[in-house]
Symmetry: C2
Subunit: 418 residues, 2 copies
């Protein structure tokens, strides 16, 4: 069977499964999720063996040890993967919720009911645990899923999916609710992206190239999960102790993630007092500082920032710093360079806090808190499928609710249109 | 300047205007909308003159008189167009609304604030009034808009937009918040669809070919407005008088629109009593009936329905009728043939009404009411940009709220992530 036929068959089976699991009870879905979790724990050795094949496969490809670490499964990680599925089972089921309902003058009750999207395709380059997370979130929200992971994790992903399917079938749900693209050929992605007749949403997670490939070739609606170039603006009316703690946290606590801060903007009035202590604290934890000319005047030993720095998501212990005239200049800088994921203002000035909240056009806008909170779990949404960097359908962390659509339900007693 | 450059310039100007009008007060937007309305009324003769050029242009192309009628402006229609803008001004502004807000255990307040999408492109083949409606809805929701109408209405659309721009500028808002693609070359659409850097959403409204063109070529997120093939199922526990009124209304009141009924499904138990009176009533208003074999047994004089009939959106005084064993068979028929816009069940059986509501996967599902209510105004949403037939972002009538996104706002007092 050629790739085109194979992908089409996967999608058609997923479409059929979707119609079934859209109408399955919460209890049945939770039973399946808990069985999936148990299965992953019981068959740990099977997963580790598949994972060893992947590790052996990339050894020759010169991947960094950090990347090999990301790819590696071990008993602790398998346990976490299972725990993730148990947590999803514990979340409340969004399907069937009546979001709102109102009465029309003619007596019609018009409401919006949450319903599954249908079939979701996920194209990702990530750790194997994403496979179980994504399948769990889609199942809980009543969707079928088609998974296409990175080639480096192929055997691990395939093994995980085979266990998930087993678990589904054991609890009398269709195994084809979780589909796996069992080829590493890139053509499979291109074929998948044409199947808008069967697939309702495609979510690309990974590098810029992967996301462009999907955005440019998909006739299926896309929710993209792009990079994060986050800013913190420290206002002249900030509590400087608080500012120091927040900036330090946003840069140092986990620098390799999309919600870490990359550029610090500081009001000129407080720059001479704030920057020396801030820079010293950051350098003490190994952060490299790249500053504008004014920053260099205050801390002459640092490297000068170039235009490139304002445009770079370091994902590393590097921070660029710019001194600004006022909040407006900070917001202009953000509008120009931000990836529109998360920005924060540190201030005790009420009206500036409100203006910043209102005017900054990012998925998450913070007052007096760390950008590192940009995360589904931290926001209280439960597990997330990723963080959307587009405006349509969902912006920011994509939780269970965001894997649903709504339909209008209308209750009448014989109304006709006049 | 070539088309590519021209479209790019339009989009860049729209992007700049969007940043401005996203933060403009409701009062300023309403003042502009009322000024737009006044302008259309004052300059009626200018619009009629442009419209006469369009009418002259299509005379030779053999358009039907119905299509020429749709294209024609007259003083009454101009007044209605102005009234539409006044109605939009009277709607409440969705921008800045806090949709919900909750408190996290660490004291963070996390909320979702409604924000404009940014720049919306609309590609349409419709009556000239859509130009003013679409511009008004986008402005009220804080978005800039790029309008690309059908070539047959080119001069009318251009004249309308030039007045809208004048009205914007007079009230000190950027004229480039309403952009018009001033060429009928198809290449302009292709160029537009690539500009995902500047445009946040594209809405195609028109025939199947136009929609496929946009869906297949756009790297910008799309909300499509496709056809309607609607069903009514009359259950064996229906109030037959009510069923007769509703079916008659849904077919006859305005047969040429997407929410009119095309196929009637009737439970076998009541078919012999219900169908003769229903068919007689419909035929009395000139409706052609095409029935399944069982329907023909009951009413031998009617035409037999073919497979094609189940798949056809007539948009005309034609109705196909099928007798079904039970509700499950009706729902199977709907799942197979419906365009998933609107379906209704007529029944007094509570549990079947609830099952139908839950299981039928259409944008609007009715109990005991006419499918003709599938409309933004009828649902109480105010004016609509169209009716979405996809699941992502918005499903069903697309009102002001659906022209917005949300962003997370987070109010802290020094929280850092641990």
């Amino acid at each position: 069977m050629d790739i085109k036929q194979e992908v089409l068959k996967l999608a058609q089976e997923a479409r059929n499964a979707a119609r079934c699991i859209a109408n399955v009870s919460s209890k049945a879905k939770d039973r399946a999720l808990l069985n999936m979790a148990g299965k992953l724990e019981q068959k740990g050795e099977y997963l580790l063996e598949a994972n060893r094949k992947d590790i052996a496969g990339v050894r020759d490809k010169g991947l960094s040890s950090a990347m090999i670490d990301r790819l590696t499964l071990n008993p602790k990680r398998i346990k976490e993967m299972a725990a993730g599925l148990q947590e999803i089972a514990a979340l409340s089921d969004p399907v069937g919720e009546i979001v709102k309902m109102w009465r029309r003058p003619n007596g019609l009750l018009v409401g919006k009911m949450r319903v599954p999207l249908g079939v979701i395709g996920i194209v990702y380059e990530s750790r194997p645990n994403v496979t179980a997370d994504a399948a769990g979130l889609c199942l809980k929200s009543g969707n079928a899923v088609i998974l296409r992971g990175g080639s480096e994790a192929f055997h691990s992903n395939k093994a995980i999916v085979s266990l998930l399917k087993e678990a589904l079938i054991e609890t009398e749900l269709p195994g084809s609710a979780v589909q796996f693209v069992a080829t590493t050929e890139r053509q499979a992605v291109h074929e998948l992206l044409k199947l808008d007749q069967y697939i309702d949403l495609v979510v690309p997670r990974g590098g810029t190239d992967l996301i462009r490939l999907v955005v440019e070739n998909s006739s299926i609606p896309v929710v993209k999960h792009d990079k994060g170039l986050c800013h913190i603006y420290v206002d002249n009316e900030a509590d400087l102790d608080m500012a120091e703690e927040i900036v330090f946290n946003a840069k140092v606590q986990r620098p390799g993630v999309c919600n870490a801060v990359e550029t610090l903007l500081v009001h000129q009035e407080i720059a001479p007092t704030f920057l020396p202590r801030m820079i010293q604290r950051l350098q003490g934890s190994g952060v490299e500082i790249r500053g504008c000319l004014q920053t260099k005047t205050i801390s002459p030993q640092i490297k000068e920032a170039t235009e490139d720095d304002w445009e770079t998501e370091y994902l590393d212990l590097i921070l660029s710093i710019k001194v600004v005239k006022d909040m407006e200049e900070a917001m202009d800088h953000i509008a120009r360079y931000s990836s529109m994921l998360a920005e924060a203002i540190i201030t005790n000035n009420y009206s500036r806090a409100m203006s910043f909240l209102r005017a900054v056009d990012s998925a998450a806008v913070f007052v007096n808190a760390s950008t590192r909170f940009t995360d589904g779990n931290q926001f209280g949404l439960g597990a997330e499928l990723g963080i959307s960097t587009q405006k349509l359908h969902v912006r920011g962390p994509m939780g269970l609710e965001d894997l649903t659509s709504t339909k209008y339900i209308i209750l009448g007693d014989g109304q006709i249109r006049v």
